[in-house]
């Protein structure tokens, strides 16, 4: 038994080592730095201990940071809702047969393989005022002025559209895989019992899809909460603070202003908030699932 365990640990050791080096060590380092005032541009560039909670206390009253968190949550809720709805509809439609289905599925999946920074570039080239085709089309045919360098609402929604374009295929594919694997017996029973399509969808498909939905929601939620690259490329966080999501805010504080201590505290606090959101959501979904059982 002991030798069996030893072999197991031996086989696991490379993975554990990598996890420790690439995950735990940086995490504890960031946690440690978060307790210090540290900016290498300061008169005294060394780490200054200023009480355990000084950075965290400062963040609680930092309106810009708190607003960036609220903005990120709002963004995540909006994109997640749209992506789930669209993804589910597309997955359901891909279950049935229609002409050029394979072609549509391939084209639909293409955005997934594009790097976020490239997605940002594509959208920028497509939508930049004066040069991109979209503002011209909107202006010429609909009389609508698209200028997200000026209009904060447009900037926010442009990023929502970009994220939906980029990630809905992921939701579609995952849900499609889940839908394809569902057992057929409950459907046949429901049809014999006289259930209509809506009832079948509400009382059979959705409950059976809950485990898949939980996975999709968590992956997309965590991803959207830490969005940086596309936004960086498209708006740089502007105009003003309009698209300064927490990831961008932390980047600017750490790499532009060099507030390493404060930036580390921001990262830890944001990680904590992300975990709490996920945990609450998970608890609610699991509890609802149990109640429905």
């Amino acid at each position: 038994m002991l030798s069996k365990n030893k072999t197991g640990w031996l086989l696991l050791s490379p993975t554990i080592l990598i996890l420790v080096l690439a995950g735990l060590v940086p995490f504890f380092y960031v946690l440690y730095v978060g307790f210090f005032q540290w900016n290498p541009l300061a008169v005294d560039p060394s780490l200054q201990f200023d009480g355990f909670a000084s950075n965290y206390r400062r963040l609680i009253f930092d309106e810009i940071f708190l607003e960036s968190i609220w903005r990120s949550i709002k963004f995540s809720v909006v994109t997640l809702s749209i992506e789930l709805t669209l993804g589910f509809l597309l997955a359901l439609s891909l279950l049935s047969s229609f002409p050029l289905k394979s072609f549509f599925r391939s084209v639909h999946t293409l955005p997934l393989v594009i790097a976020p920074i490239v997605v940002g570039s594509i959208f920028k080239l497509f939508t930049v005022q004066g040069l991109g085709p979209l503002p011209h089309i909107l202006k010429d045919y609909f009389g609508y002025t698209l200028n997200y360098g000026l209009n904060a609402e447009q900037a926010f929604w442009m990023i929502v559209i970009m994220d939906v374009w980029h990630w809905t295929p992921f939701v579609t594919l995952t849900l499609l895989a889940g839908l394809s694997a569902l057992p057929q017996d409950p459907y046949e029973s429901a049809k014999i019992d006289g259930a209509n399509n809506f009832q079948i969808f509400t009382y059979i498909t959705i409950p059976m899809m809950v485990p898949v939905l939980i996975v999709v929601i968590f992956i997309r939620l965590m991803d959207s909460l830490k969005i940086v690259d596309e936004v960086w490329m498209l708006t740089g966080g502007g105009p003003g603070y309009a698209t300064r999501f927490t990831g961008i805010h932390i980047w600017k504080e750490v790499f532009e202003k060099r507030y390493y201590g404060l930036g580390s505290a921001m990262s830890i606090l944001y990680l904590y908030i992300t975990i709490v959101i996920c945990w609450v959501l998970y608890s609610v979904m699991v509890a609802r699932g149990k109640n429905e059982d």
Binding site: I64, G238, G240
Partner: protein
């Protein structure tokens, strides 16, 4: 591309001429380092491309030392260089030091003292290469004792560009006089600048031309807009050093600074009021997009970085306005020119950068050779033609450069004769943090979310907080 090819051919001749002179020395001095690969990171500018595609290859031919220069975006360049130097990882053997970041790098002791390095190792000192050959721009890369920490590879001034073809149109002149009551000409005052901008916006629309009255480097999410305001617009209104009181490191008027003072507010008001007369892409434009917009013929006038001025005026492959570009000093408020001439102020930004060696470099000696190769007089003229930059005193008098100068409406001459009116960034070691504090307020003023007055009141408070935080205020 053609220009680069021409430069390549021209430089082959230059290097052939050099062959009899210093080539043997470089061959000999480089022999111990043959096979070494030097890694560098720099901003992707025309001079950077010349260094990577022409000079690096010639250097490798002579010495067997390969130079891999990563020319990338401004943000990436900083990100990569600073992370490498902070972590002491030694990925890069040389980095681009933009003039405004040099105080930060020196403060943090990132860079090798080149003067000292060469003095302590005479075998590495190339004959015919002297740091005295550089223009005064090299002074920005010296410490208090006069030792050099960076070898300048590009230097420009930010000038006023205007479209000669538009300004010289008879119908435009007549219409302008009828509307404003005085003659149409390139701007020498802010009122005239604004009138020109307003006029050409309407004139172009009436003529069915895709052009506007002025460029504005007004990206609402990129520091380029803050730089345009702090380094070009504000100084021309007489606001220097970001409005920071250099004795107390305070920027708000109530504390002895000037960032929210009358001149600053007049400057920001002037600048933001130009937006209706700028191409629609203005609020998403950094320095690169401003250069491209002007080159595409989308603006009648504007403040344009010198690194773009030369190619806009001369490169027909990339620019639609070749032969029609006028170059002048930008307009200034009364008294500013006199202050600048007396050394008590400046009218705009003396831009540029140098290559320096991080302490973390693993190939310092081979890099010293490369930097001296870059500094040689022999290829400065071709580099100036390819990249619109001049770092050596003698380059101005080179016949090839003089020919290009004529095509570029005397840009090089203007730089030689009036360069002293310009200045680099203020010597703030906290440059990045300070600018980062101001950015959002400038973005908000440009987007119309704040009035210029509100924006500057907020900006000075944010900047003061940063300077206090970092321990600069007494």
């Amino acid at each position: 591309m053609k220009k680069l090819l021409f430069a390549l051919v021209a430089s082959i001749f230059s290097f052939s001429a050099m062959a009899g002179g210093h080539a043997d020395w470089f061959k000999e001095a480089g022999a111990p380092y043959k096979g070494t690969v030097l890694q560098g990171v720099a901003e992707n500018t025309p001079p950077g491309q010349f260094a990577g595609e022409v000079l690096a290859k010639e250097f490798e031919k002579l010495t067997g030392i390969k130079v891999q220069l990563e020319n990338t975006s401004w943000d990436q360049m900083y990100d990569k260089a600073i992370k490498d130097m902070e972590a002491n990882s030694g990925i890069y053997d040389f980095v681009y030091i933009e003039q405004d970041i040099v105080y930060d790098y020196l403060n943090r002791d990132f860079l090798v003292n080149i003067t000292e390095g060469l003095a302590s190792n005479p075998n590495l000192q190339a004959p015919g290469v002297s740091l005295d050959d550089f223009t005064t721009f090299i002074d920005y890369f010296k410490d208090d004792t006069g030792d050099v920490f960076g070898v300048p590879m590009e230097a420009f001034i930010k000038v006023y560009l205007y479209r000669k073809d538009l300004f010289e149109r008879a119908d435009a002149k007549a219409a302008f006089r009828a509307q404003y009551g005085y003659g149409l000409s390139p701007a020498t005052s802010f009122d005239q600048y604004r009138d020109n901008a307003e006029f050409f916006t309407h004139f172009c629309a009436e003529q069915g031309m895709e052009c506007w009255g002025t460029t504005v480097q007004g990206h609402t999410g990129h520091p380029a807009s803050t730089y345009e305001f702090l380094e070009s617009i504000a100084p021309s209104f007489g606001l220097y050093n970001w409005g920071v009181n250099m004795d107390t490191y305070q920027s708000c008027v109530e504390n002895g600074g000037q960032l929210n003072g009358g001149r600053a507010k007049a400057a920001l008001n002037f600048w933001t009021q130009l937006l209706p007369f700028a191409p629609p892409e203005a609020l998403q434009s950094t320095w690169s997009e401003v250069g491209s917009s002007f080159a595409a013929g989308r603006a009648a006038q504007g403040w344009v970085y010198g690194e773009n001025a030369a190619w806009i005026a001369t490169d027909a492959e990339k620019s639609a306005v070749v032969g029609n570009v006028g170059v002048m000093l930008p307009p200034t408020a009364p008294g500013v020119m006199t202050q600048a001439a007396a050394g008590n102020g400046y009218i705009g930004y003396y831009d540029g950068g140098a290559y320096g060696i991080p302490h973390s470099s693993k190939n310092k000696e081979a890099t010293m050779l490369w930097l001296q190769f870059v500094a040689m007089n022999e290829h400065q003229a071709d580099w100036a033609i390819a990249g619109g930059r001049i770092t050596h005193k003698d380059t101005y008098a080179d016949p090839k450069v003089m020919a290009v100068d004529e095509q570029a409406d005397g840009y090089f001459t203007l730089m030689r004769d009036t360069g002293f009116l310009y200045a680099g960034a203020p010597p703030f070691p906290f440059h990045g943090a300070g600018r980062g504090a101001i950015d959002p307020f400038i973005y908000s003023a440009l987007a119309g979310e704040m009035t210029p007055e509100e924006a500057l009141d907020g900006a000075c408070q944010a900047l003061d907080t940063v300077m206090a935080d970092l321990g600069y205020q007494n």
